[in-house]
């Protein structure tokens, strides 16, 4: 028998169970790292553990790439029409508007970035896979025209599966339409920065997304002409690891630089200020 005896005390739970609602947690789809949802969000939806860049919507990019309160939306009332009478298209548009909460697959406007005036277009992947129809083409064309007339740099953030099938060859012609408005910027010496995010394929990658004076890719973004599924089908074998990722494109010389989301605004601002011969950013930023 033990020479001491533990004094029996009545069990009382002093520790309160922390009430954390189930949806307060979030998990990285890449590495499985679990953390508080708000922390992911404050980290711009980039995983704190592995650096995986999760998709964010067009509004979020506007917040990242413009000075607070400086952004004014332009051409926001342009809407797609069913130009071919393509079965099911009007319904798809209606559903997309509800789901994405945007009028179409790109948000355009003007603002400032560290005080430098910019025209900014951000594609909305949530709207029919960021597909480019006549509205996307027109908004980019107008924005590029505006850049030319005002001599203001153009920034386009792409996220798109390509041309919008439901507008047939008319959507294909948007590749031409955007190209004829971007080409004059080059001659006029007005910077055009293209940011490609996950994913950017098809007609968008084969037009303005690859026409930047500087092409910037987000880490891990899949960027290419043909989608991975199509290529797999064509060659009848699995694709090598990392094929068509931002890092792959960098290695093969198709993009200038891969920039993490936290660094995106600063990197662009730095470049623009040098291209435009403006004073450098203060060291703190």
């Amino acid at each position: 028998m033990a020479w001491f005896r533990k004094e029996r005390r009545e069990r009382t739970t002093t520790r309160q169970r922390l009430e954390i609602p189930a949806d307060a947690w979030d998990k990285c789809d890449q590495c499985g790292h679990t953390d508080i949802r708000d922390k992911f969000d404050r980290n711009l939806q980039v995983c704190m553990e592995c650096g995986h860049h999760r998709r964010i919507d067009s509004r979020r990019y506007v917040a990242i790439l413009t000075d607070p309160g400086s952004f004014t939306e332009l051409y926001g009332t342009l809407g797609s029409v069913d130009v071919l009478g393509f079965e099911g298209y009007p319904e798809r548009i209606a559903v997309a508007r509800r789901k994405a909460g945007t009028q179409d697959a790109i948000l355009t406007g003007h603002g400032t970035l560290t005080g430098v005036p910019i025209n900014l277009g951000v594609m909305e992947f949530g709207f029919m896979g960021g597909s480019m129809g006549a509205v996307v083409g027109e908004k980019i064309a107008r924005l590029a025209r505006r850049s030319l007339e005002e001599r203001v740099p153009l920034i386009i953030v792409s996220a798109s599966g390509g041309a919008r099938m439901q507008e047939g060859a008319m959507s294909l012609m948007q590749l031409a339409k955007t190209s004829v408005t971007i080409a004059p910027l080059k001659q006029a010496g007005i910077p055009f920065i293209s940011v490609v995010t996950n994913p950017t394929t098809g007609g968008v990658s084969a037009s303005y997304a690859m026409q930047g004076d500087v092409n910037i890719a987000e880490p891990g973004a899949v960027v290419g002409f043909a989608g991975p599924r199509v290529i797999k089908q064509t060659i009848g074998q699995d694709l090598p690891d990392g094929f068509q990722t931002a890092e792959f494109l960098l290695e093969h010389g198709m993009v200038d630089i891969v920039v993490a989301r936290h660094e995106l605004a600063t990197t662009i601002a730095r470049l623009l200020r040098m291209m435009l011969r403006r004073e450098p950013l203060p060291a703190s930023s």
């Binding site: 342009l78 079965e87 041309a163 047939g168 294909l172 012609m173 026409q211 093969h252």
Partner: protein, 318 residues
């Protein structure tokens, strides 16, 4: 026997009958003119009838017909003095695109065309007319050369699409097409593009941002193949008829939509029924277009080219 399309079968049967009769006549020295004449009459009527009323998917099959004239055929019949120039000066030559100097009547032009193969061996070499980035880079190199010598550019578009393979992606298929679009937007010389067979999406447009875009009557031009569209939208590639209808990819459709400028008529029974006649019509249309474009000052030409593509696309604005 040559390949035949399902709906062309009655035509092929009639042709066989006529050939048989003629052979008999020769062997037995008979006069069969009275039997042959009505059959030939019937053949041409039937041909006109069938071809006047093709469904969009049937037209896709005509556009892909293995006996359809290809770029090199027109380079022999419509053009003369063709000197092929090869290579992108960066990586290799892409046989899916043929290009070089040629004469169209009196004038010197640079011709660039996608080229399919006639048999399996040639198709493997030409990759079924699906270019790699180096093909597009060769095309742009020669477009610039044309402009330097103030010669017009004529492109002949005929591709299922830009090739979706490993090497093509590694070497920047998207970048090559994007660069061509920008280059064509600034190309300071008259430029006429013709879709002679398949206009397969970005791979076709990469040679098609032109002052005038012509299209052969039975050619197609589309953002995606009917098979691909059906597979994506309805998860069923056999719905291609439905997709071909929905995509509005025929010359008539695209002319109505303002995407192409002119339809070049094909002989009854399609270009493959009478390649020389098809070539004659193409040559005439090219000559007419270039005659109109040549006197236009270069800056006006570029402005009009941009304006034309800027008008494309319909939308509402509240």
């Amino acid at each position: 026997m040559a390949f035949e399309l399902e709906f062309e079968k009655p035509l092929v049967d009639l042709q066989r009958q006529i050939a048989h009769l003629k052979r008999l006549a020769e062997e037995q020295r008979l006069d069969v003119q009275s039997e042959v004449a009505p059959l030939e009459q019937k053949l041409s009527e039937l041909r006109r009838e069938i071809y006047a009323d093709l469904t969009p998917m049937q037209r896709v099959l005509v556009a892909r017909h293995p006996r359809r004239p290809y770029a090199l055929d027109y380079l022999r019949t419509v053009f003369s003095d063709f000197v092929e120039l090869k290579g992108d000066r960066l990586f290799r030559d892409d046989p899916a695109i043929v290009a070089g100097w040629a004469r169209l009547g009196e004038r010197s032009v640079v011709v660039i065309g996608q080229q399919k193969g006639r048999d399996m061996k040639e198709n493997l070499r030409r990759n079924f007319g699906m270019p790699h980035p180096e093909g597009y880079r060769k095309a742009l190199r020669l477009m610039h050369q044309a402009a330097r010598f103030q010669a017009p550019v004529v492109t002949l578009i005929d591709t299922p699409g830009a090739f979706p393979g490993l090497g093509a992606e590694e070497r920047g298929q998207a970048e090559a097409i994007a660069r061509n679009l920008e280059g064509m937007a600034r190309l300071e010389t008259p430029f006429v593009a013709t879709i002679i067979g398949e206009g397969g999406s970005g791979g076709a447009l990469a040679l098609g941002l032109a002052d005038r875009v012509l299209m052969l009557e039975n050619a197609i031009y589309s953002v995606i193949s009917p098979e691909g569209c059906a597979a994506i939208l309805w998860k069923d590639a056999t719905q291609k008829e439905r997709a071909a209808q929905a995509l509005r990819l025929t010359a008539t459709d695209l002319h109505e939509l303002g995407i192409i400028d002119e339809i070049v008529r094909e002989p009854d029974g399609g270009a493959h029924a009478d390649p020389d006649e098809a070539g004659r019509a193409l040559g005439e249309a090219l000559d007419r277009a270039l005659t109109e474009l040549e006197p236009v000052p270069r800056d006006a030409l570029l402005a009009a080219r941009a304006e034309k593509f800027l008008r494309m696309g319909r939308f509402v604005e509240a």
